[in-house]
């Protein structure tokens, strides 16, 4: 995280001191937020409301609870399946859109339109189609995740440097070879950015589908526990979701640096 307000000329001299004050500031702010939360809840809210000490106390009990572990497994497995479907379909459609003007013009409005629609709106429809089953959740996840993959892959495939393709063509490269050896690797970073977005949205899709259809999973765990006024336990579920969101971000960021070292755009944005 580059800090632009620090004048460059001064930076090297004060760097050692600065890092520690920044970390200190972060820790102090975090503690202040937690303390304020704790005190406000203690002073004004009923006893069942989640507070930091309560949540921390609830963690060991919840994460050893087999029901919670099963719920986590179910939700994550559904997300993995949904993402796999989205990746396969999304890459195919995205590459087609990026490389063919005709496909792009005919599909673009649908893709952008569906992407603008709040994904939560399909819940009544998928519950009509699939009933209150895990199929409804899977469909919601795919709907939530696929469009960001399509859009990003298409962007990537569109921005392949023209020279690469021209050289390949003058060596009489086959179209399929060009797709696999040039277009796909060069749109990979875009795809990863799309995947990053899609993973977060898939998780949200799974949670809202579980809220709506009351099928088992982390979302339902949160819903159920907050209904029976076990907010601390329910909040552990929220923490788990946040942890998975952040974890996936880190994983994608790390693999971009590790496997695509030539791709440096991330340093600027993150």
């Amino acid at each position: 995280m580059a800090d632009i307000t620090t004048p460059l000329a001064r930076a090297p001299v004060r760097l050692g001191g600065l890092v520690s004050t920044e970390t200190q500031a972060r820790i102090v702010c975090g503690l202040v937020i937690l303390l304020a939360w704790e005190l406000i809840v203690r002073a004004f809210a009923p006893a069942y409301v989640a507070k930091p000490t309560g949540v921390v106390m609830a963690i060991p009990k919840v994460i050893t609870d087999p029901a919670f572990l099963e719920a986590t497994g179910v939700t994550l497995w559904a997300c993995a399946q949904g993402l796999a479907i989205s990746i396969v379909l999304g890459t195919v459609i995205g590459l087609a859109m990026g490389r063919s003007e005709l496909v792009d013009r005919s599909l673009r409005h649908y893709i952008n339109g569906f992407n603008a629609v709040p994904m939560i709106i399909v819940l009544p429809l998928v519950s009509l189609w699939f009933g209150y089953t895990s199929g409804a959740r899977l469909a919601t996840i795919v709907f939530a995740a696929i469009f960001s993959i399509i859009i990003n892959t298409a962007d990537g495939a569109r921005s392949v440097p023209r020279e690469y393709l021209e050289v390949a063509r003058s060596f009489r490269s086959h179209r399929m070879r060009m797709l696999i050896d040039i277009v796909m690797p060069s749109s990979l970073p875009y795809f990863l950015a799309g995947l990053r977005l899609a993973a977060g949205r898939a998780l949200i899709g799974a949670v809202v589908a579980e809220f709506f259809t009351a099928i088992g999973g982390v979302g339902y765990f949160i819903l159920y526990n907050s209904r029976i006024f076990k907010h601390n336990e329910a909040f552990v579920g929220v923490l788990l979701l946040a942890a998975f969101g952040v974890g996936f971000e880190v994983l994608v960021g790390w693999s971009t640096l590790r496997f695509l070292p030539w791709y440096r755009r991330d340093e600027k944005t993150s």
Binding site: V49, L102, G200, A242
Partner: protein
């Protein structure tokens, strides 16, 4: 004219093809699963003509505008304030980023059991969905103010007020507007989520009713309507963002 027609022809053709495909598929499948476009449009017309539609739509609009409005009114000044005091900004930045990335839907059950079914909890949901994009982007913008700008203002002995009015606000406004665009999109999700999961009112209630009565054409009609609203709001957001983007240095 003819040129633009030729250029846009694939677009119109694809929209037409989609409509025809929908119609044919709808006519040849179980009406509980898929209804043709024509029937959906007729149903939409019926729904929009019903006396309760106006009140429901107004309900949703009030919720959306109040929530997103609060999000902007709170997010922007708070963002600037946080950005101005450097040590607070540095300290609080990671937490804002975390909250920006946290799926707010997960908090809805808590809000439900704490605040019940009234208007206030729903506004809170829409507010929570929309405040963090504004806050996050404002802080990002303020962070990228060139230090020279502030130093020059300082050396001309600008007062704190002038510094805000002449440097901070104009510089961060385009960034804030990016946040506003995201807030509009997220606010719509928040609105529907609040209407689904808290108490059923507004457009959300119309969908829920249709779904519970197995009125598939009603569900399609409402999805089409909210889809169109979503696309329109996205356009509006992009317009607002681009209007201010011109200032960007």
């Amino acid at each position: 004219m003819l040129d633009s027609l030729r250029k846009n022809a694939p677009v119109w053709l694809s929209l037409l093809a989609g409509a025809v495909l929908w119609e044919i598929a709808g006519r040849n499948s179980n009406p509980a699963f898929l209804v043709p476009l024509s029937e959906t449009l007729v149903r939409l017309w019926q729904l929009m003509g019903s006396p309760q539609f106006a009140t429901q739509a107004l309900d949703s609009a009030t919720l959306f505008v109040t929530g997103v409005g609060l999000g902007i009114v709170v997010g922007m000044p708070l963002g600037l304030l946080l950005a101005r005091v450097r040590i607070i900004r540095v300290g609080i930045d990671p937490y804002i980023m975390t909250l920006y990335a946290t799926p707010m839907v997960a908090l809805i059950p808590f809000i439900l059991s704490l605040m019940g079914f009234g208007f206030a909890p729903k506004v809170l949901v829409v507010f929570l969905f929309s405040v963090f994009p504004v806050l996050y982007n404002t802080v990002e913008g303020a962070r990228s103010i060139k230090p020279e700008l502030i130093e020059v203002a300082r050396s001309y002995r600008s007062s704190e007020r002038a510094l805000w009015r002449e440097v901070m606000i104009p510089y961060t406004l385009p960034y804030t507007m990016t946040g506003v665009r995201q807030a509009i999109a997220r606010g719509l999700v928040g609105m529907v989520a609040a209407e689904f999961f808290l108490s059923a009112t507004g457009l959300g209630q119309l969908i829920m009713n249709a779904s519970q009565n197995f009125d598939t054409s009603g569900v399609f009609a409402m999805i089409l309507l909210i889809g169109v609203i979503g696309v329109a709001l996205m356009r509006l957001g992009l317009y607002i963002e681009q209007r201010f983007a011109r200032w960007r240095i």
